[in-house]
Amino acid sequence: MFQLLATCAVFGTLPFWIKAVGLYPYLGVEVMIWVIYALGFNLLLGTAGLPSFGHGAYFGVGAYAFGLTQLNFSSNLGVCLGAAILAGAIAGGLVALFLSHRRGIYFALLTIAFGQIFWFVAIKWHSVTRGEDGLLNIKRPAFLADLDSLYYFCFALFVVVILFLWRLQSSPFGRVLAAIRQNETRARFVGYHVWAYKWLAFTLSALVAGLAGGLFSLAQQSAYPNVMSLHQSGLVVMMALIGGGLVSFWGPVLGVVLFFVARDLLGAYTETWLLWYGLLFMLVVLFKPEGLAGMLKRDVRSGAPA
């Protein structure tokens, strides 16, 4: 509860103090979009124990769906975002048909393979996706023209997603997913349809990624294949792990904030900041696999994550 209030308080007031600490308001928009994405991702990794290494695909599908809908069908913001969410869910739901009877390394390898397919299509299907250039000239509606409105629009969705996912992890569905993570065999013998749970978890996670991708299109006013690359898919894994997604719901929030602050602060000093970030990632994985959240929390890996 404390973390929920703290997160809402920090992001709710961010436009008022962000300049004072030497950063800029748009960073807040980026961070919130990535937090949505990373929390959705962590429903798989942290709660269900399913490592998805190609999650950028669904973020990208959402981004393209938003852009294509606006450029071809309707400029209505709700329709465009709805399309992003739906496209993410459909793409995830289809892929999950092939993933849900797998676990561990086989699951992970298949997510990479499917992620690469989406990325490849985005690059090669030039007539629709405009290839490597991506979709340009995506417009924000007039009421989101200024940065503050855009910020609070994203903030509203950010709060909705956080509340939903936070509630979800202590719901029967979330707790069964965590039980499957702990002991898939026993879950089967207790009578759970494990395949269906994995399928739904993956689809939901892709749905949330699709929303994040749609918001990304809206904020960046463009959609490009880079967000679907293996490299970008790896970033969300790193964020979730460094932040402590394995032990805490809030881990990905910390991980995303750390990443963007590192990018902007370290990036101001050196172009090789990713090298240092990568080293930090290795140190965390080697010595503190519970991540930032694990350092802050004494009772790690308890049955009821804080």
């Binding site: 013998f189 207790v190 009578g191 494990v194």
Partner: protein
């Protein structure tokens, strides 16, 4: 109530079960005994859906359940415990039990509901005061009791217990024996065990397995006199 007829199972070249037939009558405690590698656990795995038999038929209350997946068999009211501990390690004892209840199973897709409920199983298996201890922090004996508790939480009509006393000392074994004796009054139980003393004290009917076959069956008293059984490794 439960019937297995002419089950065969092989893994590669290795024949694990050959023409095994068993009947578990309602309200009785049936024991399966035999030396290591006799096929007792494989037998359980066929009966509870982990593997499908190569040949043969399994039926429960007149219904053919051969080849059904574990979740479907579990939902019919057949529950099992495992020889190697199989718990939700990071969950508390209470959560282990709650997640296995039919109520939670039917609400499992609820995303906004509450994960809560009540079960008297922990009291029944003697873990009433350890409800909030994580499964992995329980002592070995308590984990054994919880293993049975999780199987009981589903409120089964038929309960399969796979070596519930494996690795336990005398005192802890007595505790499990008392627990099973208590369950016997209200449940149909099938029990794998190689501790003879333990089994003969509890069972109404016993199957003796050796080399993947049933070599003898009968009441404990009848088996005591059986020369086949006396000669088999089951008595070592």
């Amino acid at each position: 109530m439960f019937e297995a007829a002419h089950l065969h199972k092989r893994f590669g070249d290795h024949v694990v079960l050959e023409d095994v037939s068993m009947t578990f009558a309602e309200g009785r405690l049936t024991g399966i005994m035999g030396p290591n590698g006799a096929g007792k656990t494989t037998c359980f795995n066929l009966l509870t859906g982990r593997y499908a038999p190569d040949r043969g038929r399994v039926s429960f209350q007149g219904r053919d359940i051969t080849g059904l997946p574990p979740r479907s068999i579990a939902r019919l009211g057949i529950s099992r415990s495992f020889q190697v501990m199989n718990l939700f390690d990071e969950y508390s004892a209470l959560d282990n039990v709650l997640v296995a209840t039919p109520e939670m199973r039917s609400r499992g897709f609820s995303m906004l509901g509450k994960f809560s409920g009540y079960s008297d199983v922990l009291e029944r298996v003697g873990l009433g005061d350890k409800a909030h201890v994580r499964a992995k922090d329980l002592s070995y004996g308590d984990r054994r009791a919880l293993e049975i508790g999780v199987a009981l939480a589903a409120r089964p009509r038929l309960l399969f217990l796979d070596e519930p006393t494996a690795g336990l000392g005398t005192e802890a074994t007595a505790r499990i024996a008392a627990l099973i004796a208590g369950l016997k009054r209200s449940l149909t139980i099938v029990l794998i065990e190689h501790d003879m003393q333990f089994l003969f004290g509890l069972a109404d009917h016993i199957y003796v397995m050796h080399w993947g076959q049933v070599i003898a069956e009968g009441s404990p008293d009848a088996l005591r006199a059986n020369p086949w059984v006396q000669r088999s490794n089951a008595f070592n």
